[in-house]
């Protein structure tokens, strides 16, 4: 069964369109990243999927049930953006409450906290936790009861690189067991290779829905060859390569992916005029900017 099915989902807030004909699906075991700048509609879409706010129109199916229905709630976990648990409770007490609310034995709290690396801090108050530790409490509660769909709103914001990698390792394990994951982020660099598919939202519209490799292909952004010329030879190099841009001793050459080898051959032909060269493929940020700005705004 498809974990999440969205089709033509629209939502307006007092005349302003927040979501415009959004549609995509998530299959079991898939990790999908939802990307977009602030206000692109990521959190709104997530809240609609969770049934916290209603959509104006469109079809939403969560594990075959209506969003927010008892059937959907029992199998969907959520991690809100910037969630702050009550500072007076300890991590263990907070997780025990969430276990009870899901109808699970509270004894599982220790194992859950250990799985997110909080075993040592379990009996300290959440008020003393760092932002990364609070985020781990949030992840621990999202793991309760083996949910089949996890909706995580900017789960890695505020995490250091090591914590982020550990976080994705936990998600990989869940996905391997067949859980679907929808996580949002405002930067492609944060999700990179750890997701199966990337959906880019801009002003409430889906601008792209593909794998990272597919996005690269679609964007067809030029590869940049940066040539360091011998002192005084920069002008000549630029002229012979018909390069557009020059900056001091370096010459920048933009070329499409399929003419890259030809251009490299051209550069090699210059021989002693060239000191060094670097080939820079389009960065993740370039690709993201390409899609999120495609609507001309």
């Amino acid at each position: 069964m498809t974990s999440l099915k969205l089709s033509q989902v629209c939502k307006t807030f007092s005349g302003l369109s927040a979501l415009d004909a959004v549609g995509f699906t998530i299959e079991p075991g898939q990790r999908v990243a939802l990307l977009g700048h602030n206000g692109a509609g990521k959190s709104t879409l997530m809240k609609i999927i969770l049934g916290l706010i209603p959509a104006d129109s469109g079809v939403i199916e969560v594990l075959g049930a209506a969003p927010g229905s008892a059937g959907a709630r029992a199998q969907v976990a959520y991690l809100p953006e910037n969630v702050a648990f009550h500072p007076a409770l300890t991590g263990a007490e907070q997780i025990r409450l969430y276990l009870r609310l899901r109808g699970e034995a509270p004894g599982g709290a220790d194992a859950l906290l250990e799985s997110v690396g909080l075993a040592d801090a379990a009996n300290r108050r959440i008020g003393t936790y760092s932002k990364g530790m609070r985020q781990r409490v949030g992840l621990a509660q999202a793991l309760i009861g083996h949910p089949r769909l996890l909706v995580l709103d900017e789960p890695t914001s505020g995490l250091d690189p090591v914590s982020r990698r550990e976080f994705y390792e936990v998600l990989d394990g869940l996905a391997a067991e067949g859980a679907s994951i929808l996580l949002s982020s405002h930067a492609l660099t944060e999700v990179e290779a750890r997701t199966d598919r990337i959906v880019i939202l801009s002003h409430g519209r889906v601008m792209a829905n593909d794998t990272l490799a597919g996005l690269r292909r679609q964007a067809a952004l030029p590869t940049r060859i940066q040539i360091a010329a011998r002192p005084g030879a920069a002008d000549e190099v630029a002229e012979r390569l018909a390069a557009g841009r020059r900056n001091g001793v370096t010459v920048d050459l933009d070329c499409a992916a399929d003419e890259k080898l030809q251009r490299l051959a051209d550069v090699t032909a210059l021989g002693p005029l060239v000191d060094d060269l670097e080939v820079i493929p389009p960065s993740l940020d370039d690709i993201y900017n390409h899609f999120s700005r495609r609507d001309g705004q």
């Binding site: 916290l52 959520y78 809100p80 969630v83 009550h86 007490e93 009870r100 609310l101 108050r125």
Partner: protein
Amino acid sequence: MKRIFALAGSEIRIALRNRWVAIIVVTMVLFSLVLSAAGSAPTGALGADKLSVTVASLTGLAVYLVPLVALLMSFDAVAGEVERGTLALILTYPVSRVALLLGKFIAHLSILALALALGYGVAAGVAFATDADAAAGLPALFRLFWTSLLLGASFLGLGYGISAYSGRPGPAAGLAIGMWLVLIVLYDLGLLAAIVADDGGFFTKTVFSWLLLANPADAFRLFNLSASSATEVAAGVGGAANSIPPLQALASVALWPILALFLALVGFRKVTP
């Protein structure tokens, strides 16, 4: 049901950690002690036992303190969860909004019950220590206890309503204090002013008693004083106790918690996290 108690347990733990329980209990006990000491002067002229006299003064205290304490505990209930972002999370759990509100309500009412039991218990202890006939006032004390709980329940519900409608803790706190001032302090002053201006006319004869019954705090005072053998201690609006049947006052005291919780639930249902 299990989930409601899990929520209530967590709320009680939070209140214990935040020293709320300690603050409320100490306040109730201190005020009760002060009133007991003040009431231990000779009361022979009234012909009532010490405990009945103490209950009459405690009634006057409870009218101010119980709503205040209830509002202080409840104003943050919904708005605080909205601000922390935990409301959105908990609403994705298999828990209904009714259960959420009931969990908080059970916790807050239990804390209030503990504080009242200790406060009134201390007062009763003092009365028994100084008057052998104090047992005659026990029914009045018991009546004061459960009506105080009903009064507290009403204001807990009103507090949740304020919390849900205002959405943020800051405005909710302001509104709670405003509601306390209006319902507890200004309401009676307004009624007295109206009576003076009306000078025994239509207002005093008909509207006045209904307005007294409409306010849970006034109904609470009327019921306790009209049922007490020490009404002479009462002053001001309490003097109207004689003109209103206790049963009507009791109905108001008993119906207000239901109405207030219903209003809170209606407001809570409209909250989008």
